[in-house]
Amino acid sequence: MSEKKMMHVLPLEAYTSQAWFDREQEMIFSKTWAYAGFAEDISEPGQYISVQAGLNNIFIVMGRDRRLRAFHNICRHRGTQLIRAVGKAQKALTCPYHDWTYDLEGNLISVPEEQSEFKDLDKSCLGLKKASVDMWRGMLFVHPNPDAGSIMEWFGEVEPHLGPHNIEELVEYPDARVEYEIKANWKIVVENYIDVYHLAHLHSGTLAMYDHAKAEYGFFGPHYAFWEPLSEDYAKDIEKNAPTPLVLPLDQLGASVPMLFPGIGLAESESNWATFIITPLGPQLSRVENRVRLKNASEWEFQKQQWRSASFWSKSIKGKYSPEAAEHDDDPMASGDFTAEDIYACEQQQKSLKSPYFEVGASAQNGESPVRQHQQVVLDFVEGRYL
């Protein structure tokens, strides 16, 4: 048999096989801090949300002290999931199956027919299993281990290399919230996100407002940080050119585009702050969720900014392929939308992976070094060297 095919650091099968998918679910996504939403998703006592984090389903609920609690969403009777995605409980959570009921601290408080059916039941041993929860950069995070320790032990090293945004002062723009599937392994999507080499090429017509040649990037622990300044053309009249009101002071303009581990992408720019959360759904299928925060300003201010910047954007954005070369009306390569370009590239790459003739060529020394480093991080986790 020929030598095992590689994608640089990882074997090719890491991008196609169920076995690798399962191993990553166990070793990466079930053992790290997982993104669970925006801080404002839970805003009053009794409200809860649940999140699938690798193999664990964890829910977060706010107590009357306005502190969040996290529990594994597993009834202690026969394991049924207790709650659905989102909702609001008064004072208790009842399992749909046999009505075992828990208070918001996770204590089992009532069991139907307890006297006749469960003579010596010690309810105090059957509280919900605890998990950890914290808030950071306006986002909620959960960890399956109740003694996970401080979230800053995980993010502390990369934090100084993220955007200088005052995230708590920005507000979500709900219309920009989207969720879509990409027919590619989650690592293909991550690698596209951190590939510096492609910026000037795939996005030649869509991301020219940034100066890719001046990008600064690198890994801090398992997390990737990236920053680049605005292009001269865009910057020289930025107060007119920004598509929406600026969210950074003039002396701190630029775009930070980190990829926190695992699959937690952020895009922190001069005019908005956005998330790009990648969730593996299968070996060759991923889901991405985008949410956007903007400046807390009036609609009128947004309208004015849009008018002001319209001329800049109409001349600065164009598809990679001209309209004449487009295959059909919504050809991503003629769309002028860099996300559509990225999705296209990811899916086109994934399609080739199963070809017997597939083989990777050379890897760019600088611009693709993050791709190789990310593969190393994944390998370290999967082989149990990280945690």
Binding site: D65, D134, M135, I151
Partner: protein, 352 residues
């Protein structure tokens, strides 16, 4: 047993118009280790006043992380022998007998810890809280802190200037919210709220400043019934008891003198020997034991430190104060011998 050490007073500072005094101690290099303290702990001081030995415990009011000297801050207590002595007489250069830092009410900051600390303090109860809060600002960079601070009026606020400076230096992660009980507020000082730190104030504090870092901790130190009231209020909002930390300030332990003691015969098991002694109606177990020539352990004599702890095996006692013990320990028979008077004719007590 911990011993007293002779510490030199480095300096003193009079506060709130002479109603309180900070005493800073010089700690020699040989004693540095012995006098390392945790934010929130207290010192026991020994004085000889009018021919009698007096011991009092005072919380340390400086942070072990700020580089400030070991410091206590003592507010005058009406007719308080020791507090007035300190305020009237103690000066730089004096030598005072001091026992090493002690106490289970403390906050240990951590470089990567990320917590929301809520402090509730009033009057001179602020002293341990100041040490804790300053420690969080110095040594726990990812955490935030809120202090609800109750006082009678703007003139009685201990450490007002220190808190203002701390807030200025830590705008993003510290808020000090003043609660003033005097109804006339002609001073030009606008507090966060009028009244006292009651349930409504606590609810407002938490609603206006919900925890961002989700590891929330609550610390209470105030006079009289404040501790219990704040704890009860917090628990009514479902704050788990293991997140609430409290201590009655040394000088203001709730003292219950309502029960008179009676004369009793006491059997004392101490260091492997059993002694039978007589106890007078007005004596505590500790006083009786010492009068009989025994040397049982003790330190603060004010029910704060727990050093004099014993176990009651037979009979009943009344404890004037029991701050140093958890309710559960009391149920299991633990007593503070320095606070216990007999309420039955015979007792049997053992030291652990």
């Amino acid at each position: 047993m911990s011993d007293f050490h002779r510490l030199k007073v480095q300096d003193t500072k009079s506060l709130i118009g002479g109603m309180a005094k900070s005493v800073m101690f010089e700690v020699s290099t040989e004693l540095t280790e012995t006098f390392l303290w945790k934010a929130g702990q207290h010192l026991t001081l020994r004085f000889e006043l009018n021919g009698e030995e007096q011991r009092r415990s005072y919380s340390i009011s400086s942070s072990p992380f700020s580089g400030d000297p070991l410091r206590i801050t003592v507010k005058r207590v009406k007719d308080g022998l020791v507090s007035n002595h300190i305020n009237d007489n103690v000066k730089a250069g004096d030598i005072i007998e001091v026992m090493p830092p002690f106490g289970g009410f403390y906050l240990e900051p951590g470089e990567t810890k990320r917590r929301t600390h809520y402090f509730f303090g009033a009057g001179s109860g602020i002293t341990p809280l100041f040490s804790m809060l300053d420690s969080v600002m110095c040594a726990e960079p990812y955490s935030v802190a809120y202090l609800a601070y109750g006082n009678k009026n703007h003139k009685s606020i201990i450490f007002k200037d220190e808190f203002d400076a701390l807030c200025d230096a830590n705008k993003d992660r510290l808020a000090v919210l003043h609660v003033i009980s005097d109804s006339s507020l002609w001073s030009g000082f606008t507090p966060w709220r009028k009244g006292i730190i009651d349930k409504a104030a606590i609810e407002a504090l938490i609603n206006e400043n919900p925890p961002y870092a989700q590891d929330a901790q609550y610390y209470i130190c105030g006079p009289g019934g404040m501790n219990t009231a704040v704890k009860t209020a917090l628990m009514s909002f479902d704050v788990p008891a293991d997140r609430i930390h409290m201590e009655s300030y040394g000088g203001m332990v709730e003292v219950d003198d309502s029960v008179k003691g009676r004369a009793a015969k006491v059997e004392i098991a101490l260091q492997g020997q059993t002694h039978l002694i007589n106890m007078a109606a007005d004596q505590t177990v500790l006083q009786a034991a010492r009068a009989a020539g025994l040397s049982p352990p003790f330190s603060c004599q004010s029910g704060v430190c727990g050093a004099c702890r014993g176990k009651l095996n037979k009979g009943t006692v009344h404890m004037r104060a029991s701050m140093a013990l958890e309710d559960k320990e009391i149920q299991q028979g633990a007593i503070l011998t320095c606070q216990s008077v007999a309420t039955s004719d015979s007792l049997s007590i053992s030291y652990g």
